[in-house]
């Protein structure tokens, strides 16, 4: 038991490509047990279309075509964040399934596994965002530039990865408090939806909230996408897009430190298998 009590810090995060690939494969397998293509299209995709149309229709209420576009683009891009933060649920799932104890004592350590498990949501998030953006721009009679849309794809991927790391950091909380998983997920993705320039510019908010928005996913990537779609300065777009992964790296470090703290705290309490 003394060996168990001394957490193997050097093994807490041993980057291992094989384990990462297996974790991603596990995530995809889990996804496929939940969604068939028909269920995804008729269930999830209809919901995300409706979500973006719901917010875009506020522009109709305001009789402003510009507002329709602003809300449509913001909320379509926010979808990738929404889906990528679903990783929060996989963290608590390890505990519910009784596999967290095994992960905590494995030679590779839990971080590689936990970071790999939800990556499938990043890919589906990019697909949801891109398809929704394209379809609804057409439905709402907005101008559509194919090169512009293609230019958005890498930025969507960056937002997805940043959101994944952000969600992973939030998920660490659920490793310790698994019963709040849905609360953490919902509040987690709604904070960027509120503050990151999705519905109103970041400058609308008081200075402390606008400053907080700078460290959320979506803020910088969305600014880049708005610039790309409006045919604005490429240097501005690239500058904003480059800030997005920097935010993501910050959340990655926070997430890894939080995993370590939460798992070690649970090990000390002997509560790794409890919820």
């Amino acid at each position: 038991m003394s060996g168990m009590n001394q957490a193997p810090t050097h093994r807490f995060w041993l980057p291992n490509r094989g384990v990462l690939v297996q974790s991603i494969a596990l995530g995809i397998a889990e996804f496929r047990t939940f969604y068939t293509l028909r269920a995804w299209l008729a269930g999830w995709f209809v919901r995300v279309l409706a979500q973006v149309a719901f917010f875009a229709s506020i522009g109709l209420l305001l009789h402003s075509k510009d507002q329709v576009r602003y809300l449509l683009v913001g909320n379509a891009v926010a979808l990738v964040c929404l889906e990528a933060t679903v990783v929060v649920l996989t963290m608590a799932a390890e505990r519910f399934q009784g596999t967290l104890e095994l992960l905590a004592t494995s030679p590779v350590g839990p971080v590689t596994v936990l970071l790999g498990r939800g990556l499938n949501w990043v890919l589906t998030g990019v697909v949801s965002s891109a398809l929704t953006l394209t379809l609804l721009l057409l439905v709402f009679g907005q101008t559509l530039s194919v090169p512009g849309l293609l230019g958005c794809l890498p930025v969507l991927l960056l937002i997805g990865l940043t959101s994944h790391f952000y969600g992973s950091a939030l998920g660490a909380i659920t490793l310790r408090f698994p019963r709040v998983e849905w609360m953490v997920l919902n509040v987690g993705f709604m904070m960027p939806m509120t503050l990151s320039g999705v519905n109103v510019p970041v400058s609308f908010w008081p200075t402390p909230l606008a400053a907080l928005a700078q460290v959320f996913p979506v803020t910088h990537g969305l600014a880049a996408i708005r610039t790309i779609l409006s045919g604005g300065s490429m240097s501005h777009a690239l500058g904003q897009a480059a800030l997005e992964p920097m935010v993501g790296m910050g959340w990655l470090v926070i997430g890894a430190l939080l995993y370590r703290r939460m798992v070690e705290s649970s090990r000390r309490r002997g509560s790794l298998g409890l919820f």
Partner: protein, 257 residues
């Protein structure tokens, strides 16, 4: 056992469970964020007449979300917890137990009306005036009843599926649009409008907005429509739950999802 006593006991039981697991009331955390999103857009761009659209939209959204989440998943959750057999074996009717628990859920969810008001008045400094308080209160009461009735029907429907979460996820935003919670259904394409009118929330949303305007014509019959649609949901739900009970009892599948 008297059916009203069953409903009251189930209601108390649900309140006790929610107190034990406060995370069930996640809408109390998300409703202010919805309010911040809607009110910020309206405040930045809107004229004062459309601002009123945003005030209670978060509360209507929260009510529907709770009906789907806790209400709709109620029987399925009992099944997963392996307590459905015990419930079916008890002398009380399952439909009455479900309805009683759902009343507690929507009753607690009504707290989001207070949150929405506080967000609009204190955070966004809006001049929120409920011009017709009687219409507002009656709308709230009848809407809560209709919500509970509809959630009972959803509980009966969802238990037939193995993937309840998929339905719960899918039925949020499409129904916020059909319910006109933020943008009135009159702004939807004409072909969609008849569909929205079989959903009680479209009438409730109009009534909530009407209670904040100087004119609120025809509110009485609109309230009646909400009550009738809610009652239809409740009756349909109770019949459906009774059928589900008969089926799982006959096939011995109460414990199987």
């Amino acid at each position: 056992m008297n059916i009203l006593r069953v409903i009251a006991a189930s209601c108390r039981m649900q309140v006790a469970e929610t107190r034990r697991v406060p995370a069930q009331m996640l809408i109390l955390a998300t409703s202010p964020l919805f309010a911040a999103m809607f009110l910020s857009v309206m405040k930045r761009n809107g004229d004062p007449t459309v601002l009123t659209n945003a005030v209670f939209a978060p509360a209507l959204i929260s009510l529907w979300f709770m009906s789907l989440d806790l209400g709709g998943g109620m029987i399925s959750n009992e099944r997963w917890q392996a307590t459905l057999e015990g419930l079916i074996g008890s002398p009380s009717r399952l439909g009455a137990v479900v309805f009683g628990r759902i009343i507690a859920v929507v009753g607690l969810a009504a707290l989001t009306f207070v949150e929405s008001y506080v967000m609009a008045r204190l955070v966004f400094r809006m001049d929120v005036r409920i011009v017709h308080p009687l219409v507002f209160v009656l709308t709230l009461v009848v809407t809560l009843f209709a919500m509970a009735g509809t959630a009972t029907a959803l509980a009966g429907l969802f238990v037939l599926s193995r993937n309840v979460l998929l339905f719960q996820n899918s039925m949020t935003y499409p129904f916020y649009i059909l319910g006109g919670v933020l943008v009135p259904v009159s702004l939807l394409p004409f072909w969609a409008q008849p569909v929205t009118r079989v959903f009680f929330l479209s009438w409730s949303s109009d009534l909530v907005r009407a209670s904040m305007r100087t004119d609120a014509p025809g509110w009485a019959w609109q309230l009646a429509v909400v009550a009738v649609l809610g009652a239809a949901g409740l009756v349909g739900g109770l019949v459906l739950i009774e059928r589900v009970v008969r089926r799982v009892t006959a096939t011995g599948s109460a414990a199987m999802a």
